[in-house]
């Protein structure tokens, strides 16, 4: 992954890269819905499928893990909190904190589901151009009255561009702070302030630069749109997705 950024698009010719973005959006929605009801066998099946798709799309699992290290810490915290707040058969009791068997099971399931949602989101963003997402969103929103679908499409594509930019900028600011010995600062409020303030300024400046660039290039909402070209594999993929989701949900 270039720049080690797991949230940015990477060119390729895999099945996911070539699949129509509308089909991908429907599949990701169905999968996130199915994950709520998924039991251990279903979660194992989805995990295996996503792992295979990741390899096929040229995404190295180790790179994803490296990019998601903060997210993984969060998952560990969620797991610990679940094990301690879910009632049931006590396994370990230490200083009035009880870890239950049911808590470990509930924590594992929640963390597993969150991780799979994250991986499916990464697979989508890595294999899809934001400009294609814009056109697909317009296509989905066009029949709904009172929604400016073109503007909404632009917002969605910009949202997908800003997420990796934010990750990149936060790394730059963190490195700049480190080079000034900012990591030795002991006050957590000051550390957060020194990271958040330049990051927010940077992001606003990036937004301004983007607005200026788009204005200079004569951007209007009424321009010729990109045509989405189905690869021909959408129907079998959709049938498979609907069938699997129905199986998990029913």
């Amino acid at each position: 992954m270039d720049n080690g950024n797991a949230f940015a698009h990477h060119a390729g010719s895999s099945l996911l890269h070539e699949l129509d973005v509308r089909c991908k959006l429907i599949c990701i929605s169905l999968m996130s819905l199915s994950l709520l009801k998924a039991t251990i066998p279903a979660l194992s099946g989805i995990s295996l499928l996503l792992f295979m798709l990741m390899i096929h799309s040229g995404i190295h699992p180790w790179e994803v893990v490296k990019n998601l290290k903060y997210f993984l810490v969060l998952l560990v915290l969620i797991f610990i909190s679940r094990t301690m707040t879910t009632g049931g058969e006590a396994m370990v009791t230490f200083m009035e904190i009880t870890i239950t068997k049911e808590g470990i099971f509930a924590g594992t399931m929640v963390v597993w589901r969150f991780f799979l949602v994250m991986i499916s989101g990464i697979l989508f963003t890595v294999t899809t151009r934001p400009s294609h997402v814009k056109v697909a969103v317009q296509w989905f929103l066009a029949p709904i009255p009172f929604i400016p679908e073109k503007r909404a499409g632009v917002m969605v594509s910009l949202f997908l561009r800003f997420l990796p930019l934010m990750v990149q900028k936060s790394r730059q600011v963190a490195m700049a702070q480190k080079s000034r010995c900012g990591h030795l600062e002991k006050n957590p409020v000051k550390r957060v302030k020194h990271l958040a303030l330049p990051l927010l300024k940077n992001m606003v400046q990036s937004a301004d630069g983007l607005a200026l660039g788009m204005t200079c290039r004569g951007y209007t909402e009424d321009r010729t749109e990109l045509a989405l070209e189905p690869s021909g594999r959408e129907i079998p993929v959709m049938i498979f997705s609907v069938f699997m989701s129905a199986l998990i949900l029913i």
Partner: protein, 179 residues
């Protein structure tokens, strides 16, 4: 609003939706509802963007989450999560943004009035989130309040102070650039 300003506000709306999504990852898990910075950015969007564009930012964020992108707290996403036990908090963002933005605008954007508007917005989020949590999980009121409101009060006061200051700073930067 001229087309150039509309474009700028469209970009800022997307930026705030992305900030709200990023804020969902900065979470401190306590029970079933984690403490997240997401609601600070939601209310900041109301203060900085105003009622119309603030609402657009929150609707964009909810739309992305409903589509299955991992933008809800802790990296979850999907329609199921939107209507799950914490869905009330997410849907509560809509009235919270509308009221916070309108209140802050009518009171003239001073630090104290902005903080008051954010506090009212926070109350609206909990007003939607706690009853939803109670009915979705079937837990009694006292437990719903203990898990879905009380642990977050101190954190929310800090977030209101930080959010008011950060929103003021962002407005100043945006004013300089003519948004």
């Amino acid at each position: 609003m001229n087309p150039s300003n509309t474009l700028k506000m469209t970009i800022y709306t997307a930026l705030f939706a992305a900030l709200i999504a990023a804020g969902a990852f900065i979470a401190i898990p306590v029970g079933p509802v984690p403490i997240v910075l997401q609601n600070m950015f939601v209310l900041m969007a109301a203060l900085v963007l105003g009622p119309r564009w603030g609402l657009a930012a929150i609707l964009l964020y909810l739309f992305m989450g409903a589509c299955g992108f991992p933008v809800f707290s802790g990296g979850s996403g999907g329609l199921g999560w939107l209507f799950g036990p914490t869905g009330g908090y997410l849907l509560g963002y809509i009235p919270a943004v509308a009221v916070t933005a309108t209140l802050a605008k009518s009171l003239g954007h001073r630090p104290l009035t902005d903080a008051l508007a954010m506090a009212v917005g926070s109350l609206l989020v909990y007003g939607a989130g706690v009853p939803w949590l109670k009915f979705a999980t079937g837990m009694p009121w006292d437990k719903a309040l203990a898990l879905g409101l009380l642990p977050f009060i101190i954190g929310d006061l800090i977030k209101i102070a930080a959010g008011t200051w950060a929103a003021g700073m962002m407005r100043r930067i945006m004013d300089k650039t003519g948004a």
